[in-house]
């Protein structure tokens, strides 16, 4: 069961970080960053399997695949931005974290704009 590995890693890293934090706070941040990256890499393989499955289902439906691929891109960006922001926030840099989130939002909106405009076009074409 991989969940035991991940939870074990998380708990050990958390205890380590707390113990070290009193003496060397900069090392504690590095431990938390590294743990986050390891867990993300482990999870990434599983997420890609789920995404592949979703993709195959999306192909069966008539909905344009572009929308679905855009949606997947948006999820990926959301994951990465959230991860970066959390790391920054853990290190006590709330300002940088919010900037990272802002960047993520802007990039997501940039990807979403074509969907919104095509919906608009759709509505305009319905109207006589």
């Amino acid at each position: 069961m991989e969940i035991f590995q991940i939870v074990g890693l998380g708990v050990v890293a958390t205890i380590l970080a707390i113990v070290i934090k009193a003496h060397r706070p900069e090392i504690a941040i590095q431990i938390s960053l590294l743990t986050g990256i390891i867990i993300l890499v482990v999870i990434l393989g599983k997420i890609s399997a789920v995404v592949d499955l979703l993709n195959s289902y999306a192909q069966k439906v008539n909905i344009d695949l572009i929308y679905f691929s855009t949606l997947l891109k948006i999820i990926g960006i959301a994951y990465i931005a959230e991860f970066g922001a959390e790391v920054c926030r853990d290190a006590g840099e709330g300002a940088i974290a919010s900037k990272v989130e802002l960047a993520g939002k802007v990039i997501i909106i940039l990807l979403a704009v074509p969907i919104i405009t095509s919906l608009l076009d759709l509505i305009i074409s319905i109207l006589p």
Binding site: L54, V61, I63, D64, Y67, L71, Y79, I126
Partner: protein
């Protein structure tokens, strides 16, 4: 009609399922709102688009989407390229300048009597003007073939001096003649210089379409 309805319902259910799965996948943070918004739009499109087909007003959403994303990409690239443009132009002008300097130096070295040459130019670096890249001024620092010029006159002078010194009276005349000789040398050197200068000026004029007043040629020690 029933076929259409069946397709529509299956389509809608699948899209809703996919969206629910995706909403479970996304991290629970501030991004969730935006993802919800986009998934909602996609659901609306998936709901409305088949109805349009029946009505006969089908639009190719793929093309619209492509056009919009192309437009955004174009704008993005243009925005980033305008920042890079200045840097790029600077690099290009520097490269252009180096090339012209190398050309000038090689041209100068081709001329007889020039041993070595160093060039420097001033070009119009204002990339907004029409005359961007025009060479404004050329500076050429030349080294002449001193070996050829020095040895020959010295040898000839020595011969004349040794053979003609017979009496003390003649010495004063000799001095005069020496002066004349030296003057002649200076003159010939200057003339040579003028010739090479003219030749150089003409060549540079032809190469760069620049007026002769803007070409400064000087000798280096």
């Amino acid at each position: 009609m029933i076929e259409f309805l069946k397709n529509w319902v299956v389509n809608t259910i699948t899209v809703v399922m996919l969206i629910i799965l995706i909403e479970m996948l996304i991290p629970s943070g501030k991004m969730k709102k935006i993802v919800n918004l986009v998934t909602g739009f996609i659901l609306v499109i998936a709901l409305v688009n088949p109805v349009l087909k029946v009505v006969g007003k089908e639009i190719v959403l793929k093309e619209l989407h492509m056009a919009d994303s192309n437009y955004i990409n174009k704008k993005e690239i243009m925005a980033s390229s305008s920042i890079l443009e200045e840097n790029q132009i600077m690099q290009i002008t520097n490269l252009y300048r180096d090339k012209i300097i190398k050309q000038l130096e090689s041209i100068a070295k081709e001329v007889k009597g020039v041993a070595d040459a160093r060039a420097d130019i001033i070009i119009n670096e204002d990339y907004t003007s029409e005359r961007f890249g025009e060479v404004k001024k050329v500076y050429l620092y030349l080294k002449t073939d001193e070996n050829d010029k020095k040895i020959k006159p010295v040898l000839s002078v020595k011969k004349v001096e040794i053979e003609k010194i017979n009496s003390k009276n003649a010495s004063s005349e000799d001095e005069n003649s020496k002066d004349e000789n030296s003057e002649d040398k200076v003159l010939t050197e200057k003339q040579l210089d003028k010739k090479t200068k003219q030749e150089l000026e003409e060549r540079i004029e032809r190469l760069l379409c620049i007026e002769k007043e803007n070409i400064v040629i000087s000798l280096e020690d």
